[in-house]
């Protein structure tokens, strides 16, 4: 204690009696250094802003090429149920719904798997699992999260479809169910880890309070902890939803390349992302043609959907987040 209090006293005397015993950095070089650091920080944060603006501008400009075409009516694009853009023979139909419904079908199947399983795993990890089990399960989840999506797509085609689905019914080789299941597996670690973070953020004194009133562990979890973490859980769900809608590799491998407007999960099911990849890869795409512009039109729809989901997630987080001190 005496040593601690002696130091400032020495400094004081050093300052008042003679010249300071420590060197003050030259203020001009320090100011220049400050300016460099601040500029660097601003530039780095500008990168993401400029990229976003650039992408939006590109989407709008190139989509304009699609909608300005004399053959295209916006209304038919938004309501049509047949999509033949990029196909060489037959008449031109450009209704977005086959692609949009493909995305929705696969996303729906994926969410049916990843949301309940993810939430249940998160509840188990956060509220039930012992330290030992946690230390084993968490890394396993991270490994699952690290599997390349192309591997999952391959897994869907080579394992899920032939061994899990075909025995059950008349599934096509490329179908919505197997792609949806693979995307669900893909989203599972995301949902689990974000929902678990939300559950862990619930302060322990709420659990104690609930136990103190005579709750069982299940009641503590379902009636207190999960409701208290609800905003975090919902934003985890929405992030997974956006991820599933934007997922490309799995669906372009496993869902087939036929745009279909159906509710049958056994049928092939091209998604918006799948269409973009397919069209981009094909050599027939020449800048300036309708199929070239259609990529951007579909991309814009995709962007608006994921943007909307992100926005809803932000609103929910801001409005319903409980703040614990």
């Amino acid at each position: 204690m005496s040593n601690d209090s002696a130091a400032p006293a020495e400094l004081l005397t050093a300052e008042t009696n003679s010249k300071p015993s420590f060197r003050i950095r030259s203020s001009s070089s320090s100011k220049r250094w400050q300016a460099i650091v601040v500029t660097g920080l601003v530039l780095c944060s500008l990168v993401s802003l400029l990229t976003t603006i650039g992408i939006i501008v590109m989407l709008v400009v190139e989509s304009w090429g699609f909608f300005a075409d004399s053959r295209i009516e916006l209304w038919k694009f938004l309501t049509g149920t047949k999509w033949t853009v990029g196909q060489t023979q037959g008449s031109l139909s450009y209704g977005i719904w086959p692609l949009l419904s493909g995305t929705l079908r696969i996303t729906g199947i994926a969410m049916m798997i990843s949301l309940p399983m993810g939430l249940i795993s998160a509840v188990y990890l956060s509220e039930y699992a012992s330290k030992r089990i946690r230390s084993f399960l968490k890394p396993t989840l991270e490994i699952l999260a690290g599997i390349p999506t192309v591997v999952l797509g391959f897994f869907a085609v080579k394992f899920i479809t032939p061994y899990m689905l075909e025995p059950l019914g008349d599934f096509k080789t490329f179908n919505a169910t197997s792609a949806g299941m693979a995307v669900g597996i893909l989203c599972l670690p995301l949902v689990t880890s974000l929902a678990e973070d939300a559950l862990q953020a619930v302060p322990n004194r709420l659990r104690e309070g609930a136990y103190g009133l005579g709750s069982t562990r299940l009641e503590v979890t379902l009636k207190v902890v999960v409701p208290a973490a609800l905003s975090g859980i919902i934003s985890a769900f929405l992030l997974a939803l956006a991820r599933a809608i934007g997922e490309t590799m799995v669906v372009s491998l496993a869902a087939g390349s036929t745009p279909t407007f159906t509710l049958d999960p056994r049928m092939p099911s091209q998604t918006m992302t799948g269409f973009i990849v397919e069209t981009f890869k094909s050599e027939s795409v020449v800048p300036g043609t309708l199929s070239y512009f259609s990529i951007y039109a579909v991309g814009t729809v995709l962007f608006l959907i994921t943007f909307g989901i992100t926005l809803i997630g932000q609103i929910i987080r801001m409005r319903y987040r409980e703040v614990y001190d």
């Binding site: 309070g209 103190g212 009133l213 299940l218 009641e219 009636k223 207190v224 409701p227 409980e322």
Partner: protein, 284 residues
């Protein structure tokens, strides 16, 4: 969510609501001794290898306020938390000896802790209202334990809030979030929430330590009001608080009860030197 298996199994829990309990006296079997609410005998508590409490003997009388005082780490909160088995949450905690609430030795493995905690309510150091409405907070325990009609539930919530001296402040905003209340109001809400399950005993673990003086004095008044209806055990660091609102005081030091008796005696005529030193502020 309200239909978890354990909730549906109402027969395991008391089917009668505390509202009815007010009129029918014989809801629970009478306590072992009309005078003793909690009987502690040869009680030892451990955290892993560390022995927190050594061979305690203490009878906590019914319908009085008993204060546990003593310096930090002396084990008073540990004893309090064993009274309704809140230490079950701590994996390395265990205890030996007897700690009887009514007829049941709560330390026994087969003790129904859900029922125990319904009868022995707890108020924590820091107010911990659930992020639900004020109404739902108070109704939480009743909904768990009783089959209760909606009008009865309203009566119970009103009664509990009145007992906790909070009704007048919140009666027009029962549907608003409990997190919008002030710290002192939140703590009184937690007391109302504990009352609403119909406990015999209320355990309070430093209930005022996070509150300003005005809120503290309201809670102390409340404890004084409630002491003829409940058996209250309060852990406190504040000796004036113990002197103001308790009937009996137990002084803990290094895991042992040094002295126990009527509050007035412990504070004005302590038998032990350590007690005197502590209550006069020489240490602690």
């Amino acid at each position: 969510m309200s239909t978890t298996p354990t909730v549906m199994n109402q027969s395991k829990r008391s089917p009668q609501s505390p509202v009815q309990a007010e009129s029918t006296v014989t809801l629970d079997p009478p306590l072992m001794d009309a005078q003793t609410a909690i009987a502690i005998d040869s009680f030892n508590a451990y955290y892993g290898d560390f022995q927190a409490l050594h061979d305690l003997h203490l009878d906590i009388p019914e319908q009085q306020v008993t204060a546990f005082i003593g310096p930090s780490g002396c084990g008073k909160s540990t004893l309090l938390k064993w009274c309704n088995r809140m230490n079950d949450i701590v994996p390395i905690a265990y205890a030996t000896g007897t700690l009887k609430v009514g007829e049941t030795n709560v330390l026994e493995r087969g003790t129904d802790v859900v029922d125990l905690r319904r009868k022995v309510g707890m108020v924590f150091q820091k107010a911990n209202p659930f992020p639900k409405s004020i109404f739902d907070n108070v109704a939480y325990g009743a909904r768990l334990h009783y089959k209760i009609s909606r009008p009865e539930l309203f009566d119970l919530v009103e009664l509990s809030l009145k007992k906790a001296a909070l009704w007048d402040e919140v009666k027009d905003r029962l549907k608003q979030s409990a997190l919008g209340l002030s710290g002192g109001q939140q703590q009184r809400l937690c007391i109302a929430r504990a009352i609403a399950t119909g406990p015999k005993i209320l355990l309070m673990d430093e209930p005022c330590s996070a509150l300003d003086p005005a809120s503290t004095s309201r809670i102390e008044d409340l404890i004084f009001e409630l002491r003829r209806q409940f058996t209250i055990v309060i852990v406190t660091h504040n000796m004036q608080q113990a002197a103001r609102c308790s009937d009996r005081t137990a002084f803990f030091y290094e895991g042992k009860i040094i002295e126990e008796g009527a509050t007035e005696d412990v504070f004005t005529r302590p038998k032990q030197r350590q007690t005197e030193d502590y209550v006069t502020g020489k240490f602690g």
